[in-house]
C-alpha cells in the first residue's frame, strides 16, 4: 500500500462516488419518469420521451448559448417538451391511433430533429446552470464535489412528494386518476377524457424536456450527439418499476443513478474486471425487480387500468 496522503480517500471514494453519481446522474431519470408517471396516470403511454429529452437537451443548450442565460434554456427545453407532448397527445386522441407506436415515432423524430438542428451547437460552449455547494462544511474536495447539487435536482426532489400528494388530494389529481382508471366512468362524470390526457402528456413532455436540459446544461454539461444513451427510454421503464408512484420514481432514479456510477468508481479503486457486466447491472437489476414484482394472474393494483401496456 502506498502512503495515504490528504487528497486520497481510497475505498471510501466508492460510496461517495455512488452518492455523488446518484445526485448527478439521477436528475434526468427523475424528471422524465415523473413526467411519464403523470402521463401514464391518465391512461396513456408516451414512449417518445427519449426524443423529447434529446430535443430538450439541444434546445436548452442552444437557447442558453444564444441568450447567455441557462435558465432561459431550461424554459425553452420545457416549452419544446410540452410541444412534443402536445403532438403526441393530439395524435393519440384520434381514433385508432396507437400511443406506443406514436411514441416510438416521435422518439425517432425528436432525435433526428435534435441532431439536425444541433449540428452548429457541438462546438460552442454555452453558460451552464449554477449549483449549490452543500458540501461547504467539509474540508474534503471529494465531499464538496459530490454535494455540488444542482437546483433542478432539488426541484425534482420536492416535486416527487408534491406530486404524490397532489394525485391523492387535489381535484386535478383525482380527475387524472379517474380518467386513467376508466374512461367510460370519467365520461359519465362529465370529464373530457381526451382533454385530460392531452394535458397530462403536455405536462409529461415539459418535464422530460427539463430533464434533457439538465444533461446539456449541467451534467455532463455540453451538447453532443451521444449525450443520451437511452436515459429517456429507461426512465419510462422506471415508472413501471416504481409502480406509478412519484416518490418511488425518485427512489428508482436515485438507485439507477447510483448504479451507473458504480462501474467507474470501482475501477478507480482497482476493481477492474468485467466492467461491461457492471455497466449492464442497472438494466439487469431493473428487469429482475420487474419480474419479481409482477404477477401473471392479475395486473398490478397500482397500474392505471386504461394503460395500453396492461392490455
Amino acid at each position: 500500500m502506498e502512503g495515504v496522503d490528504a487528497s486520497s480517500i481510497g475505498i471510501w471514494g466508492v460510496p461517495l462516488a455512488v452518492l455523488g453519481g446518484a445526485i448527478r446522474i439521477s436528475t434526468p431519470f427523475l424528471f422524465v419518469s415523473l413526467g411519464e408517471c403523470i402521463t401514464e396516470k391518465s391512461g396513456r403511454v408516451n414512449l417518445g420521451l427519449e426524443g423529447t429529452l434529446v430535443m430538450g437537451a439541444m434546445s436548452g443548450y442552444g437557447v442558453s448559448y444564444l441568450t447567455g442565460s441557462a435558465w432561459l434554456g431550461v424554459l425553452a427545453a420545457s416549452a419544446i417538451g410540452a410541444l412534443l407532448g402536445a403532438l403526441h397527445g393530439f395524435l393519440c386522441g384520434r381514433p385508432r391511433v396507437n400511443d406506443i407506436a406514436v411514441g416510438i415515432a416521435l422518439m425517432l423524430f425528436g432525435i433526428g430533429l435534435a441532431f439536425f438542428l444541433g449540428k452548429p451547437l457541438i462546438q460552442p460552449s454555452a453558460p451552464r446552470l449554477p449549483s449549490i455547494p452543500f458540501g461547504f462544511f467539509s474540508d474534503s474536495p471529494q465531499v464538496r464535489s459530490a454535494l455540488e447539487v444542482n437546483v433542478l435536482f432539488l426541484v425534482g426532489l420536492a416535486l416527487a412528494p408534491a406530486l404524490r400528494w397532489a394525485l391523492a388530494n387535489t381535484r386535478s389529481g383525482m380527475v387524472l386518476r379517474v380518467v386513467g382508471e376508466g374512461a367510460e366512468a370519467a365520461r359519465a362524470m362529465g370529464y373530457d377524457v381526451l382533454q385530460v390526457r392531452l394535458l397530462a402528456t403536455v405536462v409529461g413532455g415539459a418535464l422530460a424536456g427539463i430533464g434533457g436540459s439538465f444533461l446539456s446544461l449541467f451534467y455532463p454539461g455540453s451538447w453532443n450527439e451521444g449525450l443520451s444513451s437511452g436515459q429517456g427510454l429507461m426512465a419510462v421503464a422506471l415508472v413501471i418499476f416504481a409502480r406509478w408512484d412519484p416518490v418511488r420514481c425518485l427512489y428508482a432514479s436515485l438507485l439507477f443513478g447510483g448504479a451507473s456510477a458504480l462501474g467507474p468508481a470501482l475501477q478507480s479503486v482497482g476493481v477492474t474486471s468485467g466492467y461491461y457486466l457492471f455497466n449492464a447491472a442497472p438494466y439487469a437489476l431493473t428487469l429482475l425487480i420487474m419480474v419479481l414484482s409482477s404477477s401473471a394472474t392479475e395486473a398490478s393494483a397500482d397500474m392505471p387500468a386504461e394503460l395500453s401496456v396492461s392490455r
Binding site: 430533429l113 449492464a280 428487469l287
Partner: protein
C-alpha cells in the same frame, strides 16, 4: 338517378352484377392505397418544406435521393443490401404485434444471433460450408428466439411488460456481446478491433444470383413470405389474430394463449437472430461491436409502416433501405446533416401512424357499387 337504375338492374341481371362486384373491388383497392399513399405524399411534402428552410430546393433533393436509392443499378443494389436485414428485424416487431404485443428489442436478438452464429462457425472446423452455414443459421435463430421468447414468456407467465423487458434485454445483449468479444470469445489476433475468430472466407455467404447482394436478401424475402402464410393463412395465425383482437375471447374459446404468445415471440426473435447471423456470415465474417448498427431499432419502424403485415414489410424495407442508401448523397451534394434521413423517417413514421385514423373511412366506392 342512374345509380338507382343500375342498382335495380344489378339485382336482376347476373353478369352485370359480377362486373360491378369486380369494379367495386378495384375501387376498394385504390381506396386502401389512398390513405398510405396520401400519408407518404404528405410526409414528403413536409420534409420538402423543411429542406426548403435549409436553402435547398426540395425537388433537387428528391431527385438526388431517387438517384442515390433507385436511380442506377448500383444504387438499387445498395438499397437491397440495406433492406435485407430490415426485413428480418421488421418481422421481429411485426409478428408479436399481430398478437397485440409491442416488442422493441430486435437489436438485442440480432446481436445475440450474431454472437451465437460467430461462435459456432469456427468451432465446426473443417465441416463443409453448407453445414457450417446451416449450423450458424440454426444457432443464430435459436439465440434470437431465446431472447425475444424470454420477453414473451415473461409477459404471459409473469405479467412483465414486453416492451420494456425486450428493451432491457437489448441493453443486456449488447453488454454481453462486448464482454464476449473482448473476453472468452476473443480472437487473440484481432488486436485493435476485438472480435471473434473469423468464420473463414469459404464459409462466407454467397451472393444472390444476378445481384451483387448477399443471400441475406433471399433469407429476408423468404422469411416474410413464410410468415405471411403462417400468420394469414393457417389456423395458428388465425388464433394469433384472435389473441390480438381480444385476449379474453381467445382464452374463453380455449386457445392456448400462453403457448401461442411464446411461440410467436420465438419466431420473431429467430427472424432477428437470422439477421444477426447474416451480418456475421455475409458482411463481417466475425462478431464484434459493429453488429450494433441499429437495424433492430429500424425494424420497429419497418413493422409499423408495414402495418404489421409480413408481406408489406418487403416494400417498406426497400423504401427505408433506399432512404438510408441515399442519405449520404444528401450530405455530400447538399451539405445537409446526416440526421436529415432520421428527420424524414421520423416524419414518415408520425404521419403514417396519424393516417391510421383515416384508414377505412375514405370512401371512393360509389354507393351504387355497395360502398358504405
Amino acid at each position: 338517378m342512374s345509380a338507382s337504375a343500375s342498382l335495380g338492374t344489378a339485382q336482376t341481371e347476373q353478369p352485370d352484377s359480377v362486373s360491378k362486384l369486380a369494379l367495386a373491388r378495384v375501387f376498394r383497392f385504390f381506396e386502401s392505397l389512398a390513405v398510405p399513399l396520401a400519408a407518404l405524399l404528405v410526409s414528403f411534402a413536409l420534409f420538402g418544406v423543411f429542406v426548403a428552410f435549409t436553402g435547398n430546393s426540395p425537388l433537387d433533393v428528391y431527385a438526388e435521393m431517387y438517384r442515390g436509392a433507385f436511380g442506377t443499378w448500383f444504387s438499387f443494389q445498395n438499397t437491397l443490401l440495406r433492406a435485407a436485414p430490415l426485413m428480418l428485424t421488421g418481422l421481429c416487431t411485426a409478428l408479436p404485434a399481430r398478437l397485440g404485443l409491442i416488442v422493441i428489442g430486435g437489436e438485442g436478438a440480432l446481436v445475440m444471433g450474431g454472437v451465437a452464429a460467430a461462435a459456432i462457425g469456427p468451432a465446426l472446423g473443417g465441416a463443409p460450408p453448407p453445414v457450417v452455414t446451416l449450423a450458424m443459421a440454426t444457432f443464430g435463430m435459436a439465440a434470437g428466439a431465446l431472447w425475444i421468447g424470454a420477453a414473451g414468456a415473461l409477459r404471459v407467465l409473469r405479467g412483465v411488460n414486453e416492451t420494456i423487458s425486450s428493451l432491457l434485454l437489448s441493453y443486456i445483449a449488447i453488454a454481453l456481446l462486448n464482454h464476449l468479444v473482448e473476453g472468452p470469445l476473443k480472437d487473440p489476433t484481432s488486436l485493435n478491433k476485438p472480435s471473434t475468430v473469423h468464420i473463414g472466407d469459404h464459409n462466407m455467404l454467397a451472393n444472390t444470383p444476378g445481384f451483387d447482394v448477399h443471400l441475406g436478401l433471399v433469407f429476408g424475402i423468404v422469411a416474410c413470405l413464410v410468415c405471411y402464410v403462417l400468420m394469414d393463412r393457417t389456423t395458428f395465425g388465425f388464433g394469433g389474430r384472435i389473441v390480438g383482437g381480444n385476449v379474453r375471447a381467445a382464452r374463453l374459446s380455449g386457445l392456448g394463449v400462453k403457448k401461442l404468445v411464446i411461440i410467436t415471440c420465438c419466431l420473431a426473435g429467430a427472424a432477428a437472430g437470422l439477421a444477426g447471423m447474416v451480418e456475421v456470415a455475409a458482411v463481417h465474417g466475425r462478431a464484434n461491436a459493429s453488429l450494433v448498427a441499429g437495424y433492430g431499432y429500424s425494424g420497429i419502424l419497418v413493422a409499423f409502416l408495414a402495418r404489421q403485415n409480413p408481406l408489406a414489410i418487403i416494400p417498406v424495407s426497400l423504401l427505408l433501405g433506399g432512404i438510408g442508401a441515399s442519405g449520404g448523397l444528401l450530405q455530400r451534394a447538399f451539405g445537409l446533416p446526416d440526421a436529415a434521413v432520421a428527420v424524414l423517417q421520423g416524419t414518415l413514421f408520425v404521419v403514417l401512424l396519424a393516417s391510421e385514423t383515416y384508414q377505412g373511412r375514405i370512401r371512393l366506392v360509389p354507393r351504387a357499387l355497395g360502398g358504405s
